[in-house]
Amino acid sequence: MVAEPAPIAATAEIESEVWRIGAEIHAALPSPARHPVRALDARAIQASSEDLELRAALFRLVDVTPACRSLDDLAGHLGEYLEEVQEPTPPLSAAMRAAHTRTGRRALGAAASLGIRHMAHRFIVGETPEEALGTLRQLWSSGVASSLDLLGEATVTADEADRYARRCDAALEAMASAAADWPGRPALESDPAGPVPRANLSVKVTALTPLLHAEAPDLGVEDAARRVRPLLRRAAELGAHLHFDMESLDTLETTLELALALLTEEEFREQPSAGIVLQAYLRDSTAMLERVFDWARSHRRSSPLSVRLVKGAYWDHEIVEARQEGWPAPVFETKAECDRSFERLTRRLLEARPLVRVAVASHNLRSISHALACDRILGGDGRDLELQVLRGLGDDLAEALADRGLRVRAYCPVGDLVSGMAYLVRRLLENTANESFLGQQQRGAPLEELLAPP
């Protein structure tokens, strides 16, 4: 078990900066009146997060939707899930009754299908990269860069991995050619280290190889490398950025080793622009960061390795797996510990510049304000730091940050409903977690609470 390192003393100076910046950003967030649809979504999500059984029913429905063969089938499943809600509210009882008749099922199925599609479209920017290009351009014009993420079913075969790699290749091509016509946005396309690519693709190692074995990471590295090399080559040709997403701890070693090994190869020593992800919830995240720094010190690149700091999205999985196997939890178990880790790593990353490029990905006003405050105190002006949000969750925040002239990037998933479901469930879970920042904000928590040190 690794003990949590001592927190960096929160100086009064940082705290007052956090407060000042946080209050400004908060004031710039649009009021619900400006976005009535978003406010409605927020209310619906809020209602379901207060009723755990209903929340479970909703997730199960979202999860099964792509496998349903008809509206009737979908409504049938919905009816079954609702049966398990102990004390249904009147509208739910009406839905359950509807599920018992054929016409009722059709109407219910249509309503459920519409609702799920509506939610999916909030988080997923299109079924294909081409479909997403309009949104990417709009974002860019409004001062928000993007990273495209291709959603897909799990990769269990070599064919599936090949197909995914081809989709990545096509996405790079489509983005790069579309981005060439985008208007100039100096804040988004350069930083003190040099130019920042417009086209940016995030890839997942689990999609690029079926050979993932937690106990034999080399197998996955070797197999995925065959598919990732051409992508790096293509990104270099097109002047695009390739980012290696991080998933569960079982694949961390494979992902990190793959990224660092490939970027060490002669062909990729300078280009393309590339990045990895650091998950703050991992107890070992500091050690991982030091390992990345060591690598970066011995492999200086003209476009430095980008490190995206995230909280980590596989918390439930890590906890469940550890409990079932009897292992110590590899992740911090409280939100406060995760948040403190996030701030420590933020500071460590910002201090290490220009060894690496830093991207802070969070929807937490405190974490973002803290990053900006640290940057300021370390003598930065916000240009040497990127902020990232998820499309559909952090849209307001992105807008407010872009208005301050900061470099903001929205993570934009692309895919059809079938492949997007797992992603959608993950985002909904995140959004309905009561202790999440978004939950707090939706409850109308006061600024003192939103900006309190963890």
């Binding site: 049938g76 070599a158 599936e160």
Partner: protein, 522 residues
């Protein structure tokens, strides 16, 4: 000492390189000490010490253990010694027995790296499964230690006024444990620990393929304090086991293995020859033909990896392994395509390498048997996938998926115990249930469905002992998934669950009139 509340022994976190290094080092160290010497142990005395060689299935040149091939005379001596040991061990309080079992668990825990390495070499268990087997052996010891205390307390009976009633459990006597090689520590440990926990003496006849693992178990139990006369080791071939089963001094037989042998034991145990004044009890875990039903609303992302690991993990050599996939026709085509692709990327190789999915089979006869079924599958259906380029040295057998089988084909009805998976498409889950019900077995089953109603309906219909929903159908954990089959797959209660220990004990009820002259005295 009261044993702490049971919790499953944590597996090694093999995603951490340090753990893998420790295992690899243990294997190198063990390799230097081979071959191990495994004599028969009767009253702690070394008996017959040659006649059996266990070999590394991946490298048949490597002899892992040289064991004694016990004779009929050895078996009789072992039972007689057991009867003497019973008086000593059976007289101990449950708490003392529990303490000994917990101590034995601690000894196995201390040796866990070495024991996992031994399973890798002697039985070609890939590392994660070898480690899980060591953990399960530890689990059985600690679980039945707790169970011994509960058994001694006995159940609560109705106490009417004027009488006092109690139900107590006494040991049965000498228990013959006949164990397989496929879970070379966990299964012998489970049967042995249960019998010992209930106060019996045990004679363990391990499979001739895994005497080295059995010796490690016996050593741990002796060292922990089981009297040597109460626990004998009888390595040998089938004949030693058969003699043991027929011995009139044996009171119960705990067996895990194939159905034909299990049924033979049931028949033999039914005999009550002159001079045997008890009926032998049999607890038997036997074969299966385990089916996984995949409904149209299943999550194939989840189903494919789970089916592949259930069917091909340890090359299919688990009684719980998946043998048939019965898929709803609406998703049969994409499911089959993805399954074939997923089987294609399985790694066939030496168990000692990390990341191997399909190790060699236990011995050449096993390969011949599976190849026989593959030939039959070619006649009765179609081999949709067969891995190429499996290593020529060692007992390797290519993973296969077969389809379009004649409904009467033995490939669909008999236990193959190897890396061969049959795939069928059906119009509905009801038809799938009919197919499962028509089998004589009832061990494990699987269902992939996201409909709560379907899950309930299938669970109510299938006669299997362990039904797994939306997960792999192997890897039962002690205390969490008590394990055992119904129908011709087994007789007796589930291992690693409540009710298992009582099978090794003789219930005795004591009722006392507490009145005197019609007066209540209590």
């Amino acid at each position: 000492m009261i044993p702490p509340p049971f919790r499953n022994e944590p597996t090694l976190e093999l995603r951490r390189p340090g753990e893998r290094d420790a295992l690899a080092a243990a294997l190198r160290e063990l390799d230097r000490r081979l071959p191990l010497n495994v004599p028969a142990l009767i009253a702690g005395e070394q008996g017959t010490s040659s006649g059996i060689e266990s070999r590394d299935p991946g490298d048949p040149e490597r002899i892992v253990a040289v064991a004694g091939a016990a004779s009929g005379g050895d078996a009789a001596a072992a039972v007689e010694t057991g009867a003497a040991g019973l008086r000593e061990w059976g007289a101990r309080r449950a708490e003392e027995r529990a303490t000994v079992l917990v101590r034995a668990a601690a000894i196995l825990r201390d040796r866990r790296h070495e024991l996992a390495a031994l399973e890798v070499l002697e039985c070609a268990k890939p590392w994660p499964e070898a480690d899980a087997d060591v953990c399960e052996a530890i689990d059985h010891l600690t679980y039945y230690a707790s169970g011994a205390l509960e058994l001694e307390r006995g159940p609560d009976l109705i106490q009417a006024r004027g009488e006092r009633n109690a139900m107590r459990f006494a040991p049965l006597g000498v228990v013959a444990v006949i164990a397989p090689w496929n879970f070379p520590l966990a299964i012998p440990a489970g049967m042995t620990a249960a019998a010992l926990a209930a106060g019996n003496a045990v004679v363990l006849k391990p499979a001739e393929q895994s005497p080295g693992c059995a010796l490690a178990l016996i050593e741990a139990l002796h060292e922990a304090g089981v009297p040597v006369r109460a626990l004998g080791l009888l390595p040998g071939y089938g004949e030693a086991g058969a003699t043991l089963v027929r011995d009139p001094g044996v009171h119960a037989i705990a067996f895990t293995g194939s159905s034909p042998v299990g049924l033979e034991i049931v028949r033999a145990a039914a005999q009550t020859p002159e001079g045997q004044d008890h009926v032998k009890r049999v607890v038997a875990e036997m074969g299966g033909k385990n089916c996984v039903i995949v409904d149209s609303d299943a999550d194939l992302d989840q189903a494919v990896p789970a089916i592949v690991s259930s069917a091909f993990g340890y090359a299919g050599q688990k009684c719980s392994a998946a043998a048939r996939v019965i898929a709803h026709e609406a998703i049969a085509e994409p499911l089959l395509e993805r399954l074939l692709g997923a089987v294609e990327v399985l790694r066939v190789g030496q168990a000692a390498e990390f990341g191997i999915d399909v190790p060699p089979l236990i011995e050449p006869q096993a390969t011949e048997r599976v190849e026989g079924y593959a030939d039959r599958a070619r006649l009765d259906g179609r081999i949709a996938f067969e891995a190429v380029g499996v290593p020529a040295e060692g007992c390797f057998c290519p993973p296969r998926v077969v389809t379009d089988l004649d409904p009467d084909s033995p490939v669909l009805h008999e236990e193959i115990f190897g890396p061969l998976l049959a795939f069928e498409s059906v119009p509905s889950v009801e038809v799938a249930c009919d197919l499962v019900e028509s089998l004589p077995f009832g061990l494990t089953g699987g269902l992939f469905s996201r409909s709560p109603v379907t899950v309930k309906a299938v669970a109510a219909r299938l006669p299997v002992g362990n039904l797994y929903v939306n997960r792999e159908i192997t890897g039962a954990k002690v205390g969490r998934q008590p394990f055992g089959g119904n129908r011709l797959s087994g007789v007796g209660s589930k291992a690693g669950g409540p009710g298992y220990l009582v099978q090794f004990a003789e219930p005795r009820v004591l009722s006392e009139d507490t009145t005197r002259h019609g007066l209540l005295l209590d």
